[in-house]
Symmetry: C2
Subunit: 321 residues, 2 copies
């Protein structure tokens, strides 16, 4: 039986879990109607995952549904926003009920965990492409932005770096990959609690989706500052630490994307508070360097010598312009 | 030279026109930060256009940029909302500066006309797919919804029906197509003023993107009512009227999509007011039928005889489930 868009909405996109009072009208009309809490600003972010670019065609759809939402919630985390609503623009090669049920199960499980309601979307036919927009709240003046780092700030990160990149490398080479590394690649957990805890403490923040060098580089460029990284301080899983040791190079933790950890800068006077606030949260806090006046991101080894690492970071377009 | 995502943003996505005061932080951070006017609700809608499905690969990118935003603004129009912000998730096979400049020119020209600011987006590599989300304001209780039509309401539409469908038919058959019809297909104008004027007058509204029968069907199903259409009253351009006469069938004005006119239901006591309010606006107002208790949409000819027209409407998925 062919499924109409109406039937798709009825069967797969009508939320069964989280039902928020601030959703005046959800999925199924021309627009969703939403109520922003008085005195809060709205934070929005949209991200796209494309088959063959961001994920393999044979990926478990449940993990894909999780990840499509997770990478967006990670942007709200990096802003210090509380998530509220999501919309989903789904382009599908065909109407496949089993695939869709599994995809939406992954999506809704993560959504429910963070009290996020799916309020609208569009389903079209075409090459598999998933765009999710998330909406969250943040009080005026409390958002964590990229352009507000200052020389003297300490640079902190959550979690460990390079795990997703190593998983991808191993899977591409059809090598055995540990459950831990696969989970890091396929089921990233947005650091929403960390983002909230950093409100009023961090000067600037970003999520590490394109690799530490690239994303810290965004903070530096937009803030008109630079950064100094101590490579020995980078938080690494046992597997990535081994890989760095064997290969003798740092590209995985520095330039591999898809980690969805947070990177942020905290003025010295508030570092202790940040340690206390983040110490008990998943992902914790590791100090990895300093914001400096001089533009650019510089990396230093254990001996204090500067190490050339290239510019790095995932680039979406490598073809000639 | 390859273009990084950062350079793409700098060159193509930084708005040059409309700069709204309620945009606290626009393109370039993890999220946009937005301020909703006190006492207003937020209306959001997301729509996707896919190459080969919604447009031909050789379409003029300037027209495509216009249309990608227009079809979304049409959803705000159908809700009676005032547009404010847009986000753009653009999946591109390659970084083509000329194409992008032209696409964004079409997008920004329409955006500026309605004081809409582009506040965020994502650019990814892959098959050409365009998702736009629009955000608008509507006072509490004033939105035009689909589930609120009542038996006895008169059914009104704006503009003329079937023009885009006829243009598509002619272009597919490589027949000469008038400038008027092409414009109707390629440069639809969202009926935003009509939507605003219908606040407090219409019981229900929808935009006609999938064809009159399908979209009026949505209103009926969600409102638990039915509808009676007088085919002789359908507003037709000279070209569509000729086509209906020659072919002896009504599929173009009834089931061809892509018109982006509004269809709405108005209680008898407010019909005169609606005529006065819409009479001077682009698209005007034509009464085409009545909302009735009995479910389903029924069509009647000049002689009062019922005409079978099929269920109609553009279906996104025709493949077996």
């Amino acid at each position: 039986m062919p499924l109409s868009e109406f039937e798709l909405i009825q069967r797969f996109f009508s939320p069964t879990g989280c039902c928020r009072e601030d959703v005046l009208l959800g999925v199924g009309d021309d627009c969703a109607l939403l109520q922003i809490p008085s005195g809060e600003n709205l934070a929005v972010s949209i991200d796209t995952l494309v088959e063959g670019v961001h994920f393999h065609p044979d990926v478990d759809p449940e993990l894909l549904g999780h990840k499509a939402l997770a990478v967006n919630l990670s942007d709200l985390a990096a802003m210090g926003a509380v998530p509220a609503w999501a919309t989903l623009a789904l382009t599908l090669p065909r109407s496949d009920s089993a695939w869709l049920a599994s995809f939406m199960s992954g999506f809704f499980t993560l959504a429910d965990r963070h009290q996020v309601q799916l309020v609208g979307g569009d389903t079209t036919r075409g090459p598999l492409t998933i765009s999710v927009q998330v909406h969250g709240f943040v009080p005026p003046g409390k958002a964590l932005t990229r352009h507000t780092a200052r020389a003297g700030d300490r640079i902190g990160v959550t979690g460990t770096l390079g795990d997703a990149g190593l998983a991808l490398q191993q899977m591409a080479a059809v090598k055995p990959t540990s459950r831990y590394l696969r989970e890091r690649l396929e089921r990233p957990l947005p650091r929403l609690e960390t983002g909230l805890a950093l409100r009023g403490l961090a000067n600037a923040a970003i999520d590490i989706s394109d690799g530490l060098l690239a994303d810290l580089g965004h903070i530096c460029r937009r803030s008109g500052v630079g950064a100094r990284l101590e490579l020995q301080r980078l938080p690494l899983s046992v597997e990535v630490a081994e890989h760095v040791k064997k290969s003798g190079e740092w590209s995985l933790p520095l330039t591999a994307g898809d980690d969805y950890e947070l990177c942020f800068s905290v003025p010295p006077a508030r570092c202790q508070q940040a340690e206390a606030a983040l110490g008990s949260l998943d992902g914790g806090l590791t100090w990895i360097g300093l914001i400096e006046q001089e533009p650019g991101v510089r990396c230093f080894g254990q001996d204090g010598c500067r190490i050339e690492t290239g510019t790095g970071g995932y680039q979406h377009f490598q073809s000639a312009d």
